[in-house]
């Protein structure tokens, strides 16, 4: 496989095979990021198709000195946020309870009880995340689930790194409280 820089250079001169390699490399990661924001498989897939079209159209504007994955996440997050706002305006969003629970499949083979527990936790996490403000949620999702560095998140969200840190702290604390409300007292162990 060619290096990422070579691939990007190939895409810039119109090589669609090279673009296919980028799709192979990044589509699943970006789909996951979009799913965590949108909470629905079909919407996440639509979002990712839109994201790759944008990437194809804008690839010439990508500065080779920047990190490619940061650029991709930036486009994905912005597209997903736009979709979410648009859906919220048109009230087409399915409630998280049904969209997540009905369509979620467990990756690993687990006991039915463990699988059930995981699905419950996933549902509660989605509910708790949905109660966060958009700013806190985006910073937390990119850090916790996508493993982006604070520096990258500051570039993706176009905010100061200290603001990113602050949003992550607030998100963690709010999530702790929200999860405590949803789980029984015995299941939640406070860390203070």
């Amino acid at each position: 496989m060619e290096s990422e820089k070579q691939l990007i250079a190939q895409v810039k001169i119109g090589n669609i095979q090279a673009f296919q390699e980028l799709v192979d490399t990044y589509s699943h990661k970006l789909y996951s990021a979009a799913y965590r924001i949108l909470g629905d498989r079909a919407h996440a897939e639509d979002c990712i198709q839109e994201v790759f079209l944008k990437i194809y159209r804008k690839i010439d504007s990508f500065d080779d000195r920047s990190k490619f994955s940061t650029w991709l996440y930036s486009i994905t997050v912005n597209t997903a946020i736009d979709m979410q706002r648009s859906m919220a305006r048109h009230q087409h969003t399915q409630p998280l309870e049904t969209s997540v629970i009905e369509k979620t499949e467990s990756k690993h083979q687990e006991t039915p009880e463990a699988e059930h527990w995981q699905r419950d936790l996933s549902k509660l996490t989605q509910k708790a995340l949905a109660e966060l403000s958009e700013d806190l949620r985006m910073a937390f999702l990119l850090k916790h689930f996508d493993g982006r560095s604070i520096e990258e998140i500051s570039q993706i969200l176009e905010i100061n790194p200290n603001t990113v840190k602050n949003r992550i702290f607030r998100a963690v604390n709010q999530l702790k409280k929200l999860m405590s409300l949803n789980l029984s007292v015995s299941e939640v162990i406070p860390y203070e």
Binding site: S27, A44, I189, Y191
Partner: protein, 281 residues
Amino acid sequence: MSSPNGKDWSDEDLILYFYQELDEETRNRLGISLQTSDKLRQRYENLTHHLDGQLTINIPPPSDRLKQNIMAGIYRESLQSEKVRQDKLLEANSPREKLISWKRYFPSVKLIGASALSLTLVVGIFYFGRWSATIQPTRPVADNHQEPPSQLAASFTDATATRVLMSRLNDHLETSNRVLTLVSNGNGDLSAQIDQRKLLIEELIVFNRIYRRLAKNNGDNQLAELLRQMEVLLIELDNISTQQATGESLNALNQIKERMEQGDLLFKLKITKKKFKNDFI
């Protein structure tokens, strides 16, 4: 900074430690504190339990056709952009577009067109007057009504004005070519021939200056340069025709001829004329 029981480490420090966002030195210090302080270790375990154990999102796998759908969209986009590119190329090469691009070269094209039309009308009226003086009018005077030039000019569209200008410029190049070819061939009494065309040369100089400035102002440097070279030679020719001594005239004419050949002026003129005719006329 930290006490053995870890009281000085904040939740924010622990969160940054969990996400590996602390600088190396702070990270090492906190790592040591975690080993020595049970209370701090307990706080950290609670945090990891919350972040790792409780916060989880199961992501359903995307449909098998996701990548295919993405690439189908990309191929469609690629075809569309290729089609748009080709359409633009075709449009750019069409005579109409070329005419429009010339219109961009000449923002004052309407004015020039109107002037050219007025000049044509004045010359036309002059010759018509001379011609009509020799014959009896066959129609009543009222029927010979001419629309005033200003009204005609106003009714001109940009495209028409551009065509008139291009046509006039082409005529100018054609006439200049004829005069310069005459010098280049050098047959017969050249001084006398030039002298006979004095008025024509003067007119060519005036119009050449206008066209040169237009071309220069509108960025057609190639045409402007050709017109500049022509202008210098035309002015010299105009001066020669007024000289009395035939020997001097011939000498000067030979020098002009030599410079024309050195600069390939006639060849350049021919190429420009041909290109001009193909593109605009």
